[in-house]
Amino acid sequence: MVDNKASPVLQVKDLAVAYKIRGGEIEAVQDASFVIKRGEAYGIVGESGCGKSTVAWAVLNFLGANGYVKRGQIKFLGQELTQKSKSELRLLRGDQIAMVYQDPMQALNPSMRLGDQMKEVLTIHRGISDAEAEKRCAKMLERVYMPDPVNVMKRYPHQISGGQQQRVVIGMALLNNPALLIMDEPTTALDVTVEAAVLDLIAELRHEYDTAIMYITHNLGVVARVATRVGVMYAGEMVEQGTVEEIFKNPRHPYTQGLMRCVPKLGANKSESILYPIPGRVPPPGNRPAGCMFAPRCDYADNRCQEEHPALRALDNVNVRCHLAEEIDWRQWTPTEDVIAPPAVIAQAAADQPILEAKSLKTYYPVKGSSLKDVLGLGEKRFVKAVEDATFQIKRGKTLGVVGESGCGKSTLVKTIIGLEDSTGGDVKFLGFDITGNLSTRDEQVIKELQMVFQNPDSTMNPTYTVGQQIARPIRRFKTVPNDQVRAEVVNLLETMRLGANYFDRLPRQLSGGEKQRVGIARALASRPDLILCDEPVSALDVSVQAAVLNLLLEIQQKYDTTLVFIAHDLSVVRFFSDEIAVMYLGQIMEIGPAEAIYAPPYHPYTEALLSAVPVPDPTAKQKHIRLQGNVPSAINPPAGCRFHTRCPRRNLLPNGGKICQTEIPPWREPDDEHKIFCHLPTDTLTTFEPVISKEGNG
């Protein structure tokens, strides 16, 4: 095809955005330049606080009352946007430039029918009749694969699932066939399988409508899948840009390189590969260094970097903002000394003895019905079957990873083990003690041996108390050490967490997300537990911080021989971190076994679908295309037989189109000693599945 459509849709040049604050202003974005052409998807990546979203808002000139474009140009289809008046902008917004952002639930008006919200885009900009608009909206909804569009238009946002909401938002953005679509983390709040479907949709629509897409994300995997070109932002500046292949194959800027090294590759594990966190943290706006922004965290930085601010310059096919770009070869990089060396091999000593054993564990929640009968307590009692028939064991010093999409029951499983929920049935033994009851029925000794690390760094610490007080509390409570040694013990723990004694008197609000998470780990560690349950401890963290926390957890595990249960939705992280993995779907463990066995055939069909949905940070990797249809069914009334049968793409491999899956509970297939798959498909068939991800080139 002749490329005659290369004229740019959006040109951003030397953009600086500042926010006025009390007593001055801060520049959130200092220097961003990029060009997006017709039909091109331009990805912007970077950690939080790098100004990615601000760039997006600046393009729309929607910076709030105190933000403004301080320098630079934003040209959209040849016209300067920064000088447009409000009414001119209004004509562009929603018509030629549309935006989709992170949380679809927040983005839709809760008290307006979806149809009305969509239609007004057309009736306002196009002035067409309501009936005509209705038809076109229905067509658009069909276009974004929304089941039953006419009915959906009559509904309210809360009545459809998150994935569907995002489809509506995307459909709404595309109604007027905009030249530019800005997407700010549109899939971050979605589950991985839903994310994959939405990303497919974006790619398809881009080809069809020639829409230029500006895609903002922190996820390297998503960028690799979605974008044709990438810009990496750091501390308000564009530090590197080029085609996605080029950037991923040969990153030139030390920051880009650092980012790549923080993310576990899917299939990598802790004994053979190492994550290298980027030291330090993103300098906040207003406190940025004079020279190269990245110099304080850069391994290569020299005097010039400290003093002279590098410009974005062309180098081969990419633009890079680094004085030393020519000299740095990222393959030659060696870690500096203070990077934690991960354990090569986990001690095998007492590995065979299970520390926690669960047999047919069940946890149900009663649900309240909404009919009058239920209010009066006459209705039949119904339950959310959050965990059904979970059987597994964990050996001392090992890590059990639990993966699954939201609502699959992984959190409930952990809560049941730790005693925040009562189990409904089954048998759990921890160190020989029965722990089927909740905390109030447990012995203090057991309580002390079971601790937990939480997901959200912002809520893991009580804002009222200092770091020291919070770590000291479990020590005092369980009398781990005599009272006069508590402080020393806390300092000791802080140092284990690489946090230093001067953190003792700090309040949580003075800590960064990663630091809070470390304190959370220290607090869990304070009672010297045998088993620590980690509920998505790194999923709210930026990649570089995530790497640091993972390394720390590994170090602790090695040092104290702690056993871990590790929940996450990021399959690469779980793969990297765990020895054994359980895959859950709708309360049921679908597949369980050693980590390497889970990520290679034979697969459970659900595991296969999950793996094929994972965004892989490698644009050259070939990934099988399996997409699950429909929504996750309700856990109140889970499908009979195999719970996955309503969405299973492999069902038709069974005779009769898999009728048996609808009626009978599947058997456990055991392709190998420790590896079990909960499926009607015989092991032989499962073994014939091809690996989901195969690599071309070096990867």
Binding site: P285, S440, L450, Q510
Partner: protein, 307 residues
């Protein structure tokens, strides 16, 4: 605004006093709050001064009745020939500084408004914490009880309480406590419902802490910001209510002058001396507005601070 998370890194932990001052001084960032604080401080100072000095004895009927302001009586005199300024000053005491106990001449430091609000905050906090944290039936019962209390029009409740218990400082305190508690409890409950979803509460639960520890040591301290703001507003309401009761003639008993009652008495001679009505009215309004502004400023700054 993802770029806005500014990382405060303090070099060394500041001393306790300094930290406290830092906490207080955030109010100066808000112009509204500062104005409010000045208004409130003005009345507190007036109250303190009145303890030791008023121009004349507040109950002395030494002057010509209903004189307009002059050199001798800066704010004029009332219908009985008493000095309005002195009475106005003295009137602050019962609200802000002292409560007269029914046993002899015993006096409790802290005014009726203060004790009333303290009472409703204490009661409300205990109820709200239990309702919010325990949930289930406890919540249902407490909320039902509070709903019943809230259903009473406040003045009617005051009237009923006073009809039942008679007049007196303690009765007014009880009335303020009862009328205020449901509001506080609702506030604390909603805060508790929010705070109890936080992970640090899970952490405390996994340590098997007692329910009282969790409620009072883990949850309550994190609710103190909104609670402080709310209390501030409530002191305003209480003063408002005391004034109203005084006006209705069922407020704080004599002999101490009561602003509301001053308005009530002066209005009978409103044609002769309109200003006698204006002064105590202004006093009440300014103190209530001051507290409101202070609370508004505080709320604004606290929410900015937490962002």
């Amino acid at each position: 605004m993802e770029a806005m998370q500014s990382g405060l890194k303090l070099a060394a932990p500041p001393s306790r006093l300094r930290r406290m001052w830092k906490n207080i001084s955030i109010i100066f960032d808000s112009r509204v709050g500062t104005i409010g604080m000045i208004m409130v401080l003005f009345w507190i100072v007036t109250a303190l001064v009145s303890l030791f000095w008023t121009p004349y004895p507040p109950n002395a009927t030494d002057f010509i009745q209903n004189t307009p302001p002059n050199i001798q009586n800066l704010l004029g005199t009332d219908q009985l020939g008493r000095d309005i300024l002195s009475r106005l000053m003295q009137g602050t005491q019962v609200i802000l500084l002292k409560t007269r106990l029914p046993w002899g001449k015993a006096i409790l430091p802290g005014g009726v408004a203060i004790w009333g609000v303290l009472g409703s905050v204490t009661l409300g906090a205990v109820l709200g914490l239990n309702a919010g944290y325990r949930g289930g039936w406890t919540d249902q019962i407490i909320m039902q009880f509070l709903d019943a209390l809230i259903a009473f029009p406040v003045i009617v409740l005051y009237l009923v309480v006073i009809a039942a218990l008679g007049q007196g400082d303690l009765v007014v305190i009880v009335a303020i406590t009862i009328t205020g508690a449901p509001g506080v409890a609702r506030l604390v409950r909603s805060l508790t419902l929010d705070i109890k979803t936080r992970d640090y509460i899970r952490a405390a639960e996994t340590r098997a802490e007692t329910i009282w520890y969790i409620m009072f040591k883990e949850i309550l301290p994190n609710a103190r910001g909104p609670l402080l703001v709310d209390s501030m507003l409530r002191v305003g309401y209480a003063i408002f209510a005391i004034g109203t009761l005084g006006f209705l003639g069922i407020g704080l008993p004599p002999p101490d002058p009561d602003w509301g009652n001053m308005v009530n008495e002066a209005r009978r001679s409103i044609f002769a001396n309109p200003l006698a009505v204006v002064w105590p009215s202004l006093a009440i309004a300014s103190l209530v507005i001051g507290l409101n502004l202070f609370a508004d400023g505080l709320r604004e700054e606290l929410s900015r601070y937490q962002k």
